[in-house]
């Protein structure tokens, strides 16, 4: 029985020569490059990056053990560190000191995506000083304190580099702290505390993710999800499992699922040589693999019973569209007994849809009103997969739903009307094919009295295609004739096509001698003149 896993390692890992007595492996987090240095570089350095194209191989003189080796962006400049105090650049270049800062630092971490460096200061190490690098300058941000669970006396280094990770979540920079023991006496469990570092520089504690367990942890960020890998101390043979946590602090661990390895690469999950790098990289140096951690959305669907929360979760993920649509049409979901849930889901989806439509509209307006006058140029809003529009819903969910057997027709209509209600609530214009679907379903089940009431109250908005559809129903349902004439009366629904006008003039042409190709207004005025003549013959009645 294969369990459905919601996390997986990438299918094609970057392969490199594994670490051995002659081969040292280094990883550069900024460019995500792996350096395999053989014999100090004498027999070769192979550099592999995220894609094979950037694989570089070269040789360098063995001038001693390499402690660290990196490339600049675009592999233009190589830097090698062999001693603890000097860095060598094999190519001769000139170097200029831009800025210096004097601080007692225990350790540091650097986040390449945001170009922020975090320094651990003070004896305890829990006062963190960030610096931001922007436009060639280094600016000091306000320092902040990490709350330690236990204050050691006498003071000693209590915060290690392993407990801190920096990450970008939903476009914001966070410092994540793995707190192993909570301060509250009753729960010995670990927590992940998130500190939000805003652009203006202020930092404050923003979220606490309770892990409800203890042990060894590692953190990754995938698709804006905080993934906590957990290795239990107590039973090392037990396959350790990552605990998937959602970003909102309201949430809870969603139950462990093992991460499978991808065939044909057999390797041990969470072996001791595994290293975790931000944001979503796992490297096994002893085997020579670099994987990207990925989220598989379809299995996550079963993790949350509350469909509203599930939607909130899915709407924030990158590749969410088809999963969302499949949730919508799952039999378990769209069966009787779930109208309020259906309504909630539709509302959540349409909120996102509406936001996108509004952004599009304001962009179009800004473009039309000419080039910007001093304000920053607006970017065209990106349509993420989370925008589920009416055509998506119609194609993937609603049209097959209306054909489903074994569902009561009242429920089918109720679901369609909920969707239309939700669209109306968000003031989104309903497409006519949705109305057509409603009409066809009503007619199919002989629910004419419902159709009539919907049309009477203009719930199914007037439109030309709808009027023509109603005319075609006349033989099954005679009142459709009257309803379609009403609809055609609305000025922008006047028919231009020949077939429409001949049929709708079927009745009025009796009174006149014309055969109908003219639009109703002409016919009508001809009829009028006939009647004025006839009514003037009436005398007065008692």
């Amino acid at each position: 029985m294969a369990e459905e896993h919601y996390l997986e390692l990438s299918e094609n890992p970057v392969q490199f020569e594994h670490a051995s007595s002659v081969n040292n492996v280094f990883f550069d987090e900024a460019n995500k490059q792996v350096f395999a240095v053989r014999s100090g570089g004498a027999t070769g350095v192979v550099v592999k990056g995220p894609d094979d194209k950037s694989s570089v191989a070269f040789r360098m003189d063995d001038k001693g053990e390499v402690k660290c080796i990196k490339f600049s962006i675009g592999n233009k400049i190589l830097a090698v560190q062999r001693t603890s105090k000097s860095v060598v650049f094999p190519d001769k270049r000139s170097l200029k000191l831009l800025k210096s800062q004097s601080i007692n630092v225990n350790w540091y971490q650097y986040c390449p995506e945001t170009a922020v460096i975090l320094l651990s200061t003070t004896v305890q190490g829990n006062i963190l000083q960030p610096f931001a690098f922007r436009n060639g300058t280094m600016s000091k941000m306000s320092k902040f304190e990490i709350e330690l669970p236990v204050v050691p006396k006498p003071a000693k280094l209590s915060l290690s580099e392993r407990d801190i990770a920096m990450a970008t979540i939903y476009g914001q920079l966070y410092v994540m702290y793995l707190k192993h023991h909570s301060r509250t006496a009753n729960s010995p469990s670990a927590e992940v505390v998130l500190y939000h570092l805003s652009r203006e520089g202020s930092c404050k504690k923003s979220h606490v993710l309770k892990l409800n367990t203890t042990g060894k942890f590692a953190l990754n960020i995938v698709d804006n999800l905080v993934v906590v890998h957990h290795q239990t101390r107590l039973c090392p043979e037990h396959p350790p499992a990552p605990v998937l946590l959602l970003h909102r602090p309201l949430v809870f661990p969603a139950g462990p699922a093992a991460v499978p390895s991808q065939p044909p690469v057999p390797c041990q999950l969470y072996s001791s040589s595994w290293s975790v790098f931000q944001p979503d990289i796992i490297i096994s140096a002893s085997e020579g693999y670099l994987w990207y951690l990925q989220v598989k959305l379809p299995p996550t669907v079963n993790l949350l019973q509350d469909k509203g929360k599930l939607m909130d979760f899915l709407l924030r993920r990158r590749e969410c569209k088809m999963v969302i649509l499949s949730v919508c049409s799952q039999s378990a979901y769209l069966t009787a007994g779930s109208l309020p849930v259906v309504a909630t889901v539709f509302d959540k989806l349409n909120q996102v849809y509406k936001d996108y439509l509004e952004a599009e509209q304001s962009y179009t307006q800004a473009m039309e009103s000419g080039p910007s006058r001093g304000s920053a140029a607006q970017k065209r809003p990106v349509r993420t997969q989370a925008v589920i529009d009416q055509s998506d819903m119609y194609t993937h969910v609603l049209s097959s739903f209306t054909e489903r057997k074994g569902v009561s027709h009242k429920f089918i209509i109720a679901v369609l009307m909920e969707y239309i209600r939700s669209l109306n609530q968000f003031q989104i214009t309903v497409q006519h094919y949705l109305y057509e679907l409603v009409i066809k379903t009503l007619v199919q089940h002989n629910l004419f009295y419902m159709l009539h009431q919907f049309l009477q109250y203009h719930v199914l908005s007037d439109s030309k295609p709808l009027a023509c559809l109603l005319l075609s129903l006349e033989s099954t349902y005679p009142p459709a004739h009257q309803l379609s004439l009403d609809m055609l009366k609305v000025p922008n629904n006047r028919p231009e096509t020949r077939c429409c006008s001949t049929r709708c003039l079927g009745r009025s042409s009796r009174e006149t001698s014309d055969s109908g190709e003219a639009p109703p207004s002409t016919q009508v005025s001809t009829a009028r003149s006939t009647w004025l003549t006839s009514s003037s013959c009436l005398g007065s009645r008692r």
Binding site: E418, K489, S535
Partner: protein, 480 residues
């Protein structure tokens, strides 16, 4: 009924009598075909204190007339019998069952001088067959709503049961007939729909669907606001008669206590529920009392194979009323009522205030221009929608019209004309004094307008009516 209209300057007054019910009876000739058995034919007779032989004579007369006229037209027997003093209306709702209503013609009693007895002048032509014919039909429909058909009663308990049911029902119902105020609207038997914007309508749909889903026992739902219909889950003919019952009997009975003062003993027992304003109009009046017995009225509506019997639950919150119909074979317990109360009460209260808010907003927007300055009656045969700016308060006891009955009679005449032909028509009538009456029939719609324009001519009147159509009925296609 007597109306005094002082006309003579000398102080002696003319008395005007409006039409009134003389008698009402139901018979089946096949029950007593032989001589000496005539009494068996009579299933119901009002007034009951009439002597037996006179009843037999009256029934016999009707039977004879119907038989006689059948020879001339077998498919369409006589509908009414006009005599100087009264008019009789015949209606055969089910095979061989006949309902007859005898109405005394309106008359004027003119006092005579010198102590002579006053002269009575009968105004036979003032009565319209269509109007009172419709009243008889409605009597049957109302009976059928609460009791099912005559044949059903016959099957269940023979003639005795049928007679019991007829007696029980018509004894009360005939007292509610006010023949003096019957008019064109009775011919239509229409339903007044409440105007609503799309969003609120969709919210109501959503509410109805959810309640029907949560309480799966509910088969049909109807939603009304302010005595006007918004949504009906029933077929038209059933809704039509149910609507009449609700608006002329049930709602008025319950609205008067609501209007009573705080300390009045008539004020309904508010079950101390502060969460919502919902309460049952039929069924349990006080949910908190576990001993109190309650029952719901049973109604009969048409189904694929005849009729189905349903409990009628009418639940009201402020001005919104929801009717839930559940199969009569189910026993409705107190728990169910409590469940319904807790589910529907809060939602219906919220909806009622939403609707009220929307309605106020709409009125403010449309402003005084939309105030009807025209006196008109509109009816659509397709959906039974009716609208009248002529009729004001309509309760069980009173139906006020703001126009002279003579004008209503003209409307009725025009309606008769319309009914004779299939084609679309327009009829313009210059009535007495300053009034013009215009009747328009287009497709299945009828519109009657009364204009008070003394010196207008035909063309001006025509223009006025066209203007009315364009403003009041701008989304309805009327052939000009």
């Amino acid at each position: 009924m007597l109306m005094i209209s002082p006309k003579m300057a000398s102080g002696m007054q003319e008395k005007q009598y409006t039409p009134s019910l003389l008698s009402f009876f139901i018979y089946n000739p096949t029950f007593g075909p032989r001589e000496g058995e005539e009494e068996k034919k009579i299933l119901f007779y009002h007034p009951s204190d009439v002597e037996k032989n006179e009843k037999i004579r009256n029934v016999g007369l009707c039977e004879a007339i119907v038989q006689f006229t059948r020879t001339f037209c077998p498919t369409k027997p006589a509908k009414s019998l006009h005599t100087q003093k009264n008019r009789q209306f015949f209606f055969e709702p089910e095979e061989n069952f006949w309902m007859v209503m005898v109405v005394r013609n309106p008359m004027i009693e003119k006092p005579n001088k010198d102590g002579k007895p006053p002269t009575v002048e009968y105004q036979e032509e003032e009565m319209l067959d269509t109007v009172y014919g419709a009243v008889v039909r409605q009597c049957y429909s109302m009976y059928k709503l609460f009791n099912g058909t005559f044949s059903r009663a016959m099957q269940a308990g023979g003639v005795e049961l049928l007679m019991q049911k007829l007696e029980k029902f018509f004894y009360r119902y005939l007292q509610t007939l006010h023949l003096q105020s019957c008019d064109l609207l009775d011919v239509f038997g229409g339903i007044s729909f409440f105007p609503l914007d799309k969003m609120t309508y969709l919210k109501i749909q959503s509410f109805v669907n959810r309640v029907e889903e949560s309480l799966s026992l509910i088969k049909y739902t109807a939603f009304l606001y302010n005595d006007q219909l918004i949504w009906s889950g029933l077929e038209q003919d059933d809704m039509r008669i149910l609507y009449k019952y609700l608006t002329t009997s049930l709602f008025p009975r319950h609205s008067e206590p609501e209007l009573a003062g705080r300390d009045s003993p008539m004020r309904p027992e508010v079950a101390g529920n502060l969460l919502h304003y919902g309460r049952f109009l039929t069924g349990p009046t006080n949910l908190k009392d576990p001993e109190a017995k309650f029952r719901f009225p049973k109604i009969f509506v048409s189904a694929e194979d005849g009729y189905e019997e349903l409990h009628l639950i009418v639940y009201k919150a402020m001005s919104a009323a929801a009717c839930f119909m559940i199969s009569a074979s189910v026993e409705l317990t107190r728990e169910f009522c409590e469940q319904l109360d807790s589910l529907v009460g809060p939602q219906l209260t919220l909806l009622a205030s939403d609707i009220c808010e929307q309605f106020t907003i709409n009125r403010r927007i449309s402003g005084p221009e939309k105030e009807p300055q025209f006196k008109f009656i509109y009816f659509n045969h397709m959906n039974l929608a009716e609208k009248s700016t002529i009729h004001m308060r309509k309760t069980a006891s009173v139906c006020l019209t703001s126009v002279h009955p003579d004008l209503m009679k003209i409307l009725g005449d025009i309606n008769c004309d319309f009914a004779r032909v299939d084609e679309d028509e327009e009829i313009i009538v210059k009535a007495m004094t300053d009034y013009w009456v215009v009747g328009k029939k287009s497709d299945q719609r009828e519109l009657y307008v009364i204009l008070n324009q003394k010196n207008a001519n035909l063309i001006e009147v025509n223009e006025e009516v066209k203007r009315l159509c364009a403003t009041q009925f701008n989304n309805i296609f009327f052939l000009d």
